[in-house]
Amino acid sequence: MQQKRMSIFVRRCLIFSALFTPFAYILAQVVALQMGDYEILGPEPGKAIVWFTGEWAFNTLLLTLAVSPARQWLGWKWPLAHRRMLGLFVMFYATLHLLSYMAFLLAWQWQDIGSELVERPYLTLGFLAWVLLIPLSITSTKGWQRRLKRKWKSLHKVIYLIALLCAIHYLLQIRSNWFDPSLYAFITLILLGQRLSLARIKGFFVRSV
């Protein structure tokens, strides 16, 4: 027992470090840039950071969604214990993504931020995805889990919607190269598809009858 608890702790540290590394990396780049290493992120460093944080928000989101398929397809039970942390990393990178967009690309020009979020569908969807992450992050604690009881599970299914919003957010930005956005959309659909397996659909109808 002692052995097992220890290994969860070690795993938690390892996963935390792994997912924190992209942030540490980009932070180091920003520090180097501000210290005068001008070439490090190119002439448009803001855009580079917005893309980087967006990619990692999506990467962590896909990892979060991969926890149940990993159990079903690979028989891995251990990731379940770390799903909360994975989810909070999604919020962490998504928030950095949104903040860096507003700060580095729109220079906090609120009027522009407002009109862009309303007028550009891909930004509206991206922003909506971030807003939907807020209640999930707040209710991610054990206390909220207890308080909400069975509703907690339904509430956290919103992550499926968030994933779809993110995939569309990325697909809507295709200009010439469609590979990366399509790959992300494809993986999203595969991971969501696992939830739609025949047995589950049957189970859903049986329960609702």
Binding site: Q34, P43, G46, A103, L106, R120, S176, N177
Partner: protein
């Protein structure tokens, strides 16, 4: 043809190229001094390109490029540094990342180079670039370049007015448009080998003949006193400063005079997003983003250089008359 005053200055006022080099040297030293004080990042657009001029490119072009006359056009603008102009490029033939062209364009063979002239003109045929340039006086002009992606640069081009070239081929009265084609050579251009691109190669761009004949429209063979680097569209490219950057087609191998409007590459991919004209216009948004403002590069993180975009990129005085009576919301 009305020539704008800034270009039409008396020869006595034209700075020689050596004066330009001196100016560059002065700026380099200034740049070095400021960099030494550790302020380089906040200064941004200082000229710090410190290579000996003309260290690359075909020998036959070197003397001509270094002998380019300084028109003084655009001198009041703060230049975007050489390293940014040559490392942050959209040239999808070499990949869709901004740094892909600088990394991949080395494979492009730019010498010898020939251009095929076709269509509604008296003199057709394939001409060697060396022969085309032989008797063409080169000049330097500093232009703003506004990308459709809402960023912009200021670049000192070396080239000649496209009108000078067009006149030689004697377009017929039926020549209403001029179509340009970029090289298609998948062996040299890695982006053309990609199966994940929406672009139907080769890249095509076109102008109305009066746009092409406008004195602002430049054919560039150099920048910053150097021969044009490959990632910037060597050996010869178009520069149309009042239009979004994608109109300024690179590495041109064919010029065709047509009676009917050609379909441009981006226009074919997304007609609702890219029209034939693609004039810089802050009032007409790209469907996916606003064109009202632009980030003038280099742009820092906490000192974002976000400035209002000007109608016709600020060249309205020279080109607005071309579009008199047109609804620029429809003809975007």
């Amino acid at each position: 043809m009305l020539i704008k005053p800034a270009v039409d200055i008396p020869s006595s006022e034209i700075t020689s190229h050596s004066a330009y080099l001196n100016r560059r040297k002065f700026m380099q030293q200034g740049g070095a001094a400021i960099a030494a004080m550790g302020l380089a990042s906040s200064v941004g657009a200082l000229e710090t390109h410190d290579s000996t001029p003309l260290k690359f490119g075909p020998e036959w072009l070197k003397a001509q490029v270094s002998g380019a006359s300084d028109t003084g056009f655009g001198k009041e603008e703060k230049l975007t540094p050489y390293r940014d102009v040559t490392s942050y490029n959209n040239f999808y033939e070499f990949g869709t990342g901004k740094d892909d062209p600088a990394r991949n364009a080395g494979a492009l063979v730019t010498d010898p180079w020939s251009i095929t002239i076709e269509g509604e003109c008296e003199r057709q045929g394939t001409f060697n670039l060396e022969d085309i340039l032989k008797s063409m006086p080169l000049e330097e002009r500093i232009y703003r370049l506004r990308c459709v992606e809402a960023w912009s640069m200021v670049i000192p081009w070396i080239g000649f007015p496209l009108a000078e070239l067009i006149k030689r081929f004697k377009p017929l009265s039926t020549a209403k448009y001029v179509e340009f084609t970029t090289l298609e050579a998948p062996k040299q251009m890695i982006g053309q080998r990609s199966r994940f691109s929406t672009i139907d190669w080769p890249y095509i761009e076109a102008l109305r003949i009066d746009e092409a004949m406008n004195p602002l429209t430049l054919m560039a063979v150099g920048l910053y006193g150097e021969i044009l680097p490959k990632q910037n569209g060597a050996p010869i490219r178009l520069v149309v400063p009042w239009k979004y950057g994608f109109k300024s087609i690179k590495s041109i191998v064919k010029i065709r005079f047509t009676e009917k409007p050609p379909i441009n590459t981006w226009q074919a991919i997304a007609p609702s997003e890219y029209g034939f004209y693609a004039n810089v216009n802050p009032d007409v948004s790209h469907p996916r983003w606003s064109q009202a403002k632009e980030r003038r590069l280099p742009s820092g993180l906490f000192n974002v250089n976000r400035i209002p975009t000007q109608m016709f990129n600020g060249y309205g005085e020279q080109v607005a008359h071309l579009y008199k009576g047109m609804d620029l919301r429809k003809s975007f």
